[in-house]
C-alpha cells in the first residue's frame, strides 16, 4: 500500500514530514509562527503547537513524548465541506487549505468540523485563521516559519510529487509512518515518521 494518499490531482502535493523523535518540545515553532503571522496575544490563538504527551510504559514507568500539531491540509477537508461561503478552500495547484478573510463570515462551522483543532477565530481580523503552510513565505523561496526555526530539525517541508524532495525521501526511508486521525477519512498531509539513520 502506498503511504501517500492522493485523492486530488495536484501539480504539487505539499506536505510536512515530522520526525517525531527529533522534537524536543522547545516550542520555537509556536513563537516563530505567532510572530510571523501576527497571531493575537492569547493562548487560544495559534496556528501550530506542541503537545507534551505523558504516559506509562508496560512496566508502569513514566514516559514522555512530544507531538507537534498544525493544519493537516487534508485532501478530504471537512472544514472546506462545511464552509457556507467558500472562504475555506483547497488550492488545486498544491493542496494548501486556506481561509480567505474577505469571504469569511465568522460562523465557525469549520472550527467545529476540523478534527485537529487547527483553527481559531481572530477577533481582531474578524475571521477564522489557521496555518497556510506559510504560503506567503514558500511563494517567496523561504521555508515555513516553523520549519526554518526547528531546533531539533524535526519538521520538514516539501513536495511529495517530486520524488527527489527531502520529504519524499524521508517517507521512502521511514521505518514507520503515521498520520493523525486517518480513520476520519480526511487524508491528511502531515506525516509523522520514525527514521533509522
Amino acid at each position: 500500500m502506498s503511504l501517500i494518499q492522493n485523492n486530488i490531482k495536484k501539480e504539487k502535493n505539499l506536505a510536512m514530514v515530522i520526525v517525531g523523535d527529533r522534537c524536543i518540545g522547545c516550542d520555537a515553532c509556536y513563537v516563530s509562527c505567532k510572530t510571523d503571522w501576527d497571531v493575537p496575544a492569547m493562548k487560544e490563538a495559534f496556528r501550530t503547537k506542541v503537545f507534551e504527551v505523558e504516559g506509562e510504559d508496560v512496566n508502569g514507568n513514566p514516559t514522555i513524548g512530544f507531538l507537534p500539531t498544525l493544519c493537516n491540509h487534508c485532501d478530504n477537508a471537512p472544514c472546506v465541506d462545511v464552509c457556507p461561503t467558500g472562504a475555506s478552500f483547497k488550492r488545486d495547484e498544491d493542496g494548501i487549505v486556506l481561509v480567505e478573510p474577505d469571504m469569511c463570515i465568522g460562523c465557525k462551522a469549520c472550527m467545529v468540523a476540523c478534527p485537529y483543532d487547527a483553527r481559531y477565530y481572530n477577533e481582531e481580523e474578524q475571521t477564522v485563521d489557521k496555518c497556510t503552510f506559510c504560503l506567503p513565505r514558500i511563494s517567496n523561496g523561504l521555508d515555513p516559519a516553523c520549519v526554518s526555526t526547528c531546533v531539533g530539525e524535526s519538521r520538514n517541508f516539501g513536495d511529495l510529487n517530486d520524488k527527489e524532495s527531502n520529504v519524499s525521501k524521508m517517507l521512502k526511508d521511514a521505518t514507520s509512518v503515521f498520520k493523525l486521525k486517518e480513520d476520519e477519512g480526511t487524508s491528511p498531509n502531515v506525516y509523522y515518521v520514525t527514521l533509522n539513520y
Partner: protein, 753 residues
C-alpha cells in the same frame, strides 16, 4: 498553565456556543452565502505576497548563548527574527525565547527613561530624570561612600554583553568586588573541577561533541529543557544517529524523552554513581590505557582509592541497582573513545559539587575521549592578534567575597568572584562594609543563595543601589537610580569573539532606533565615569570597535563579516587527539589529573572536601514529612528575565509542584490539589498556592518546581506574581572547594492551600 493543556475546543464552547448551533443547521447544504465566481477567482491572492523587509545582523541576548540572529524590519518595525544559518551557535535556528525577542523589545513595561527613587525602597515610586541628573546622582551618593569606606565598598554584578563597561567603571573607581553570578550561582563548581582535571573549564559554550557521540551520560544536564540551541541540535542529532543516552536525574525532564536508560537517582548521590562506574571500568580493565599512560597523572592512586566504591556500595547510596551500574559502565567503555559523560551546567546543588564533577571528569579521562569526535572537543581561539586594551591597575583592596590567595576560597577565580560572597559580606558587613551595588542585567532576588529574607536585609544595608537594565526586575524595583539600557535589537555592541570548535566573530547592529529614552551600556557607564573624571577609560564606542576590526581583518574578511554578520575561522582542529597531534594540558603536572596533587596541602589543612581524589559523603537529608526542593529550567523562559514576555507566558505562566504518587498518597493529596510550600528552616510560606502535579516523573522524597517565576515587581503587568519563586525554598549552602552556592539542600513542608 504549564505545557499546552487548554483545549481550544473548550474555549470555543464558551466563546461561540451560538455559532455551533447555526453550523449544525447549515452543514452540508447548498448555501445562499456561496461565493461568486469572481470572488473565487481572487481568493487567497493575498497569501502570495511576503515582504521580508530590511535585514540587520545581530546576536541574541534573550540568554547568554548568543545565537546568530537576522533581524527583519518593515517600515522601521521589526517583524521577524530568524536564526543566522552561518552562526555556529545555532545554525539558522532560534528557540522559543530567541523567537520572542521582538516581544521583549516592544514591551511598554520596559524602563523608558532614567529614574531616581522617590518613595521607600521597593515601593516602586520613581521620578523621571535627565541622564545628567542620574549621572550626578550616582556621583553625589557614591563619592562620599568611597571617601568614607574606600572604593571597595562598591560591588558590581554583571550579566550580559555590555559586561566590559561596568567592569571598567568599577576597576577605574578602584573596587576589586566585581562578580559574575554565572560562577557562584551556576557553573562555578563544574568549571573548577574541569580546570583541576584538564587545566581548562568546560566554558559557557560547552565542549561536548554530542552530535558524533555513541553514548552520552547526562548527569542531571537537561539538554532538551534548558535549551541552548546548538547543544539541543547536537543532542537531537546524536540521538537520531543512534547514540545511547543514559540520563541521570531524580526528575524525568524533557531530555529523558529518548533515554536508553533513565536512572532515577537519589538526589545528591551522582558522585556515588560516577565512582561506581569508575570502579567497574578499572576493575574490569576497561580504561583506555594508551591515553592514561600517555596523558594522565595519578592512575595508581586512583586504582587504590576506587576499590572502596564497588557497584554494590554505589547502589546502596544512589538507589540504582548494581547490575545496571555495571551494564552501563561496560556499554560506555565499549564505545570509547566516542563517548562523553556530561556534568550539570548549573552545578550549584549539594555542596559536594566540585568533587562530584571531578568524578565525572575522571570518568571521561579514562575513556580517552579528549580531542576525539563524540567525546570532548578542543576549543580554538580566533587566530588573530587583537590590540591589547588599556585597563586600570588592579585595585589594591582585598576582595570582600573570600576569593584570592590566602583567603577562604583561594581557588576561586578573581575574574569572576563569588556573588554569594558579596551578598554575605553586604549582610554581615564583614570583612568590611559594602555600601553600594551596581547591578548590570542581574536580579539577585531571583538567585538569592543566602535566603530571600537575608537578601532583603542585605539590600537594607546599602546606601546606594544602582541598576542598569532593560526592565524592572524584582531587584531593580529596589534601586535608588535606574539607567535604562537599549535592548539588543536597538544597540551596537563590541564585536563578539568566540573561542570554540569553529571560532568566529559576530556583529550586533541595531535594527531600529531605541523606542524609548535608553542608551547602550557603554554610553551609560561612560556617563557615570565622566562624573568621576574617569571617562578616558571609555575611549572607543562599540561601533568604533566594530570598525576597528579592519586593523586585524583583511578586506575580504571584513566584507564577509559585513555581508554574513559572522566570520568563521575554519582552519582549526577540534579533534587533535584523533588527528594524532600531541595534547597539552595546562595543569601543574601538564597532564590530565586523575589525582590532583595541588590539593594535598589543602586537604591536610581543610579536610576531605579538598581531597586530591573525590571522597564520597552523604548529602543532607530532609526530616520525615519534609521534601527536598529541586528546581530547574523550562524551555520556555530564560532564567528570571522573560516572565513578562507575553508570548512566552502563553507557553508557561505557572509553576506546578511536582510530587511522586507515593508521597501524594501519604499526604492525602490528589493531582490538581492546590498546595503551598513552607520552608522547613525559615518557616516562610509561599505567598500563593500552586497546583499539585502528581507524577512518577519525580522521585519520592523530593518536589520539583521550575525556576524563574514568582516575581514581586508590580511594573510587570503580565508576569507579576505568576508562579512561585523557588528561591524562598532552597538552601544557602556553599561548596567549600569552589566557593559556589549549593541550592538543593533546601527542605519544605507541603500543605493544602
Amino acid at each position: 498553565m504549564g505545557r499546552h493543556n487548554i483545549s481550544r475546543r473548550g474555549f470555543l464552547k464558551l466563546a461561540g456556543a451560538s455559532s455551533v448551533a447555526i453550523t449544525a443547521g447549515i452543514t452540508g447544504l447548498p448555501s445562499p452565502l456561496k461565493a461568486s465566481a469572481a470572488q473565487e477567482a481572487t481568493r487567497g491572492a493575498r497569501f502570495l505576497k511576503y515582504d521580508r523587509g530590511v535585514k540587520t545582523h545581530n546576536f541574541c541576548e534573550m540568554c547568554f548563548w548568543n545565537c546568530g540572529v537576522d533581524t527583519y524590519t518593515r517600515n522601521g518595525v521589526i517583524h521577524k527574527l530568524e536564526g543566522n544559518k552561518l552562526n555556529p551557535n545555532n545554525r539558522g535556528h532560534l528557540c522559543a525565547k530567541g523567537n520572542a525577542g521582538i516581544q521583549s523589545t516592544y514591551d511598554a513595561d520596559r524602563i523608558q527613561s532614567p529614574l531616581i527613587r522617590t518613595g521607600k525602597r521597593g515601593e516602586g515610586k520613581f521620578k523621571k530624570v535627565s541622564w545628567e541628573e542620574a549621572y550626578k546622582y550616582v556621583y553625589e551618593k557614591l563619592n562620599p561612600l568611597v571617601d568614607e569606606f574606600g572604593p571597595e565598598t562598591l560591588a558590581t554584578f554583571m550579566h550580559g554583553t555590555g559586561e566590559p563597561y561596568p567592569h571598567m567603571l568599577t576597576m577605574a573607581i578602584g573596587s576589586p568586588n566585581i562578580t559574575i553570578p554565572a560562577y557562584s550561582q551556576c557553573m562555578g563548581s563544574r568549571e573548577m573541577a574541569w580546570a583541576l582535571t584538564f587545566g581548562t573549564g568546560v566554558s559557557g559554550h560547552e565542549t561536548f561533541d554530542m552530535a558524533n557521540s555513541k553514548h552520552m551520560i547526562l548527569f542531571g544536564r537537561n539538554m532538551a529543557g534548558a535549551v541552548q540551541v546548538r547543544e539541543a541540535e547536537d543532542f537531537a542529532e546524536g540521538l537520531a544517529r543512534g547514540a545511547r543516552l543514559t540520563y541521570v536525574d531524580p526528575r524525568q525532564s524533557e531530555s529523558a524523552v529518548r533515554a536508553t536508560d533513565w536512572l532515577q537517582i537519589n538526589p545528591g548521590t551522582d558522585m556515588a554513581l560516577a565512582l561506581g562506574f569508575i570502579h567497574v571500568i578499572i576493575r574490569d580493565n576497561l580504561a583506555n590505557m594508551d591515553f592514561v599512560r600517555k596523558y594522565c597523572y595519578g592512575y595508581n592512586e586512583l586504582t587504590k582509592h576506587i576499590k572502596q566504591y564497588s557497584p554494590k556500595w554505589a547502589s546502596k547510596k544512589c538507589g540504582i541497582d548494581a547490575k545496571t551500574i555495571e551494564k552501563i559502565a561496560w556499554e560506555f567503555a565499549k564505545d570509547a573513545p566516542n563517548v562523553v559523560a556530561i556534568p550539570p551546567r548549573r552545578m550549584t546543588r549539594y555542596g559536594n559539587d566540585t568533587q562530584t564533577v571531578r568524578a565525572i571528569a575522571i570518568l571521561n579521562a579514562l575513556m580517552g575521549n579528549w580531542g576525539v569526535p563524540g567525546g570532548i572537543f578542543v576549543r580554538n581561539k580566533v587566530p588573530l592578534d587583537f590590540p591589547k586594551e588599556d585597563m586600570p591597575d588592579a585595585p589594591d583592596a582585598r576582595r570582600a567575597d573570600g576569593v584570592g590567595e590566602g583567603e577562604k576560597y583561594p581557588l576561586a577565580p578573581t575574574t569572576l568572584g563569588r556573588t554569594n560572597g558579596i551578598y554575605e559580606a553586604t549582610l554581615t558587613k564583614k570583612p568590611y562594609p559594602i555600601k553600594a551595588w551596581l547591578l548590570y542585567g542581574t536580579n539577585p532576588l531571583s538567585h538569592s543563595s543566602i535566603g530571600v529574607n537575608n537578601l532583603y536585609k542585605a539590600i537594607d544595608n546599602l546606601e546606594l543601589l544602582i541598576a542598569i537594565d532593560t526592565q524592572f526586575s524584582d531587584t531593580v524595583m529596589y534601586a535608588d537610580v535606574i539607567f535604562p539600557e537599549s535592548t539588543y535589537l536597538e544597540r551596537y555592541d563590541a564585536p563578539y569573539i568566540q573561542k570554540d570548535k569553529t571560532p568566529f566573530i559576530a556583529l550586533r547592529k541595531p535594527a531600529i532606533k531605541p523606542l524609548y529614552d535608553t542608551k547602550g551600556c557603554f554610553e551609560i557607564c561612560k556617563g557615570i565615569a565622566k562624573e568621576f573624571e574617569l571617562d578616558d577609560w571609555f575611549e572607543k564606542s562599540p561601533k568604533e570597535m566594530q570598525e576597528e576590526l579592519s586593523q586585524v581583518l583583511n578586506k575580504e574578511q571584513m566584507e564577509t563579516l559585513e555581508k554574513d554578520g559572522v566570520l568563521l575561522f575554519e582552519d582549526v582542529d577540534p579533534y587533535p587527539n584523533a588527528s594524532g597531534a600531541a595534547l597539552n594540558f595546562s595543569t601543574s603536572t601538564s597532564k590530565v589529573q586523575l589525582y590532583v596533587k595541588d590539593l594535598e596541602d589543602m586537604q591536610k589543612k581543610h579536610g576531605d572536601e579538598f581531597s586530591p581524589l573525590p571522597i564520597y559523603k552523604d548529602p543532607a537529608m530532609p526530616k520525615a514529612g519534609e521534601f527536598r526542593t529541586l528546581f530547574g529550567r523550562t524551555p520556555h523562559h530564560s532564567h528570571a528575565r522573560s516572565q513578562n514576555n507575553w508570548v512566552l507566558l502563553e507557553l508557561q505562566d505557572d509553576t506546578p509542584v511536582w510530587m511522586n504518587p507515593e508521597d501524594a498518597k501519604k499526604m492525602g493529596f490528589k493531582d490538581g490539589d492546590m498546595v503551598s510550600l513552607v520552608n522547613a528552616k525559615t518557616g516562610h510560606k509561599s505567598d500563593h498556592s500552586e497546583r499539585l502535579k502528581v507524577t512518577k516523573r519525580i522521585k519520592s522524597g523530593s518536589i520539583f518546581i521550575h525556576h524563574g517565576f514568582g516575581h514581586t515587581t508590580k511594573a510587570w503587568t503580565r508576569g507579576y506574581e505568576k508562579g512561585t519563586k523557588e528561591n524562598w525554598f532552597i538552601s544557602d549552602g556553599v561548596d567549600p572547594l569552589s566557593g559556589a552556592a549549593a541550592f538543593h539542600n533546601g527542605f519544605v513542608k507541603v500543605v493544602k492551600a
